[in-house]
Symmetry: D2
Subunit: 275 residues, 4 copies
């Protein structure tokens, strides 16, 4: 059972929380704790065994925690997700494979594409694919169609697996801290379009990818994880794009694993990741 | 104040320990915890503020812990070390520089070399250098001379900064878990002499270095940290050796930082590193 | 057009070869060259444009090269491969996805498994799957059945994508430098079975994977590429195995890309990789 | 002997150049070649043995190259450098150590500091230190004093080893492509002041360092090399700064090695690095 808590910091929080665990005869398999001193904020993640009644546990925890405490007790055995794509296959295919072999830590309910090029690969894995084109539509109409497709499934998270349209503030506000995006640069470098071209023009010696929660500041949401690979002068924009796909796939896979394992807590515009 | 504890695992340990912290009005700045389930062993490291009487704290902790508990409460404000070297300068010079600028986390009391080539660099930093040659001596005589030089200083740790002689079981037993060595391969690959030649002959695509505590099994002691660098066919043995020095220096520096910060706990032949 | 050559080293080889290119009006887009001085061996890889008659070019090259020269002029537009598997899906699925989206640099002709658990995923991608069980058979019989399945396709390479049976010297000899294996450790550490258990027991701080050509020395063939990931004390054998699958997939994918792009030359037991 | 050439691209350049080598009976130990197709620019680096008259060789090369060719034939056995610092010791100390043990590939002629805190460590290595304060001076006066100190030594390169003053266009123009800086971020992220604070505020999961040639666009000159290290939420600005020093030291050391080995060619605002 995973328990994650954040609240304002004060003396005795760990003792209070772990006393509750002891009273419920829960053994602490692992414990991650962080205090953000500049914000006086306390974060904890506990993996406990065997298990207990979540409501009773939550009630007891509330007695030892400040009023502002946010407590989550492993709400679902497994997350449900909807994936949004455009034309590139690499991130989606990785998700579909893990989903098919039950190693994703979540269930892919559906895939939505603004082109239909990835419909066939979804069909091969018996995953519903919705082709919702953005062409010839006002953005609110386009997004409303997407929302309707999503809301059938009540997913825990939306995964933007190289979805190349910018979502409106209204859309984003409908899924607060539920939208995970993969950006093809080591943010904050190369915000916006064509990061590989920007990287090529600048002559950098490494390229990267960033998985982050989507907020209404483009490419500015809380970062979940980032990785880079070294490159050199011999790679042109096409080569960089190709090399970048490998790191994008790896970074998104890692971010999803962290989120689906309840290892990522968000406060303001930053994450605490207990890995 | 750093508190590190290891003992057999049982329910309620974290609660018991953190209750003691609360009673002493100690705030937990950071907490690392690990349970080795295959050995039923519990490990914890706490960084607490402000401070308390170490003896009183230890006594209270003993009441909530099993009898076998090993408790260390940040025993010294700063560690004292003696460094053993042969001819290569890179690890020693890095240590001397950090020592001189007070960023090592320990004080270098003396350097002992079985050659005198590194005497001058020690002199430049006003660090005592003992030239104790192994030539023409039985090993027990050689080691007894080293011991006498060391024991003037009562160091917390001995650092083998590319000391190229194998120490006898008797010598090692005199400094249990106090001797830190840098080995020039990613152990357990290339145990023994000439790892860079071995790496070259085998045609590996990465080389590494390993910092470990010394035990009486050659190159088999508990590993503190390891890193690697990618290499390619163009590097001959000389090139590998040169490239390797960079990673050796970095790995030893990292290991010393971890040990001097009380982040490394040892159980049987493995380490728990709270970084 | 890719041209790869290896021969004994002598003065003027690059001039001789590039003169031939100039006579055929071939522009050198990229050129990688290596001299193994300890073996007096010369290696070169040229990427030239536009194109020329391969036979005529080869004949001219032979005039400027020593008699022992091995010359390959991009023999096929695309390689053909057969993949051998046991039960683990991760490497195979990655290959099938790249094959389906035509980014593998080779065509998967068939998959052979000694269990049938991966039959379904192959079927979903319309790739023939042969279930050839090793159970209740002498090894020569088992291998003969595999050979027959393979030889229908005349593949350029066999890829052992977590094929967990040791192949006999006879089998290996039938496909010299054509069998590529992924081994789940940073060789030469942890040769043989259960490398993740070995890594756990030893308490290493990094685990890796190695892609290599198969020879009759188990896990001793020429290494194509290797990578590692950092690990820590919190990971048990199951966790290491899971984490290792990510790096195995990445390393095999990278090795196949290098081989299929004609970037890997083999001499004795080592590779020269022009990347 | 190292030969580096850049010029506009055309068919037959490699043949022409290597024919000259053959005529001078020079054996090509290694050869790196690059064509920047978007700029139609050719780059080559040759390491040849034994040696030849540089002027005669250059003349012959000019006959086979376009008029715009820039040819450098290993102009000096060893480079001379002057190092500029402010207060931080880590990059300077690394340079001084390598200089003292003759592994820098260059000779440190002098160190110039706008504070005097690093005077003592220079004195310990018998390297002249000039304390030239910027306080109470107009920038042109300050820079003129620095120039005079530098020009005594006619160095090949100036190394800004954490020199925290912005140099004027006039100063920079006096040393074109001769000034190497270490910037404490993975450029182009976090240009300007306090990159570690910027990194902390943004919540990135990796920090880096960039070595580059200085031009009159702040932090925008040609990048020589970059590296990153992973970080997490537990590190505050002070921790990031401390961790960053390790990577700054490593990146600057690597960049200097590349430049001093004549491995770095510059065209427009980018580098070609033959490593």
């Amino acid at each position: 059972m995973i328990i994650i808590i954040q609240c304002k910091d004060q003396v005795g929080l760990v003792a209070g929380i772990t006393n509750v665990m002891a009273r419920f005869a829960l053994n602490i398999v692992s414990l991650g704790e962080h205090v953000d001193k500049s914000n006086n904020r306390f974060f904890i993640r506990l993996n406990v065994e065997p298990t207990a009644d979540a409501n009773a546990l939550k009630q007891e925890l509330q007695h030892v925690l400040p009023d502002d405490a946010e407590i989550a007790i492993n709400p679902l055995p497994e997350k449900k997700i909807v994936v949004l794509v455009t034309k590139e296959y690499h991130c989606l295919a990785d998700i579909l494979i893990r989903n098919y072999f039950s190693t994703l830590g979540a269930q892919v309910q559906a895939v939505i594409g603004n082109y239909d090029v990835l419909a066939d690969v979804c069909r091969r894995f018996d995953v519903p694919f919705y082709h919702i084109s953005h062409e010839g539509k006002e953005k609110p109409v386009f997004e409303e169609e997407i929302k309707q497709a999503i809301d059938n499934y009540q997913p825990d998270y939306l995964v933007l697996a190289k979805f190349m349209r910018i979502l409106s503030p209204d859309f984003v506000a409908s899924y607060p801290l539920q939208i995970i995006n993969i950006h093809h640069s080591f943010l904050p470098a190369f915000i916006g379009a064509n990061p590989y071209r920007q990287a090529y023009e600048r002559g950098v010696k490494l390229i990267g990818a960033t998985a982050h929660f989507v907020t209404n500041q483009l490419d500015e949401g809380p970062i979940i994880t980032q990785q880079i690979i070294p490159i050199n002068h011999a790679l042109n924009v096409t080569d960089l794009t190709k090399a970048g796909k490998e790191i994008e796939t790896a970074v998104l896979a890692r971010a999803l694993q962290l989120v689906f394992d309840d290892r990522v807590l968000v406060f303001q515009n930053k994450t605490v990741v207990f890995d």
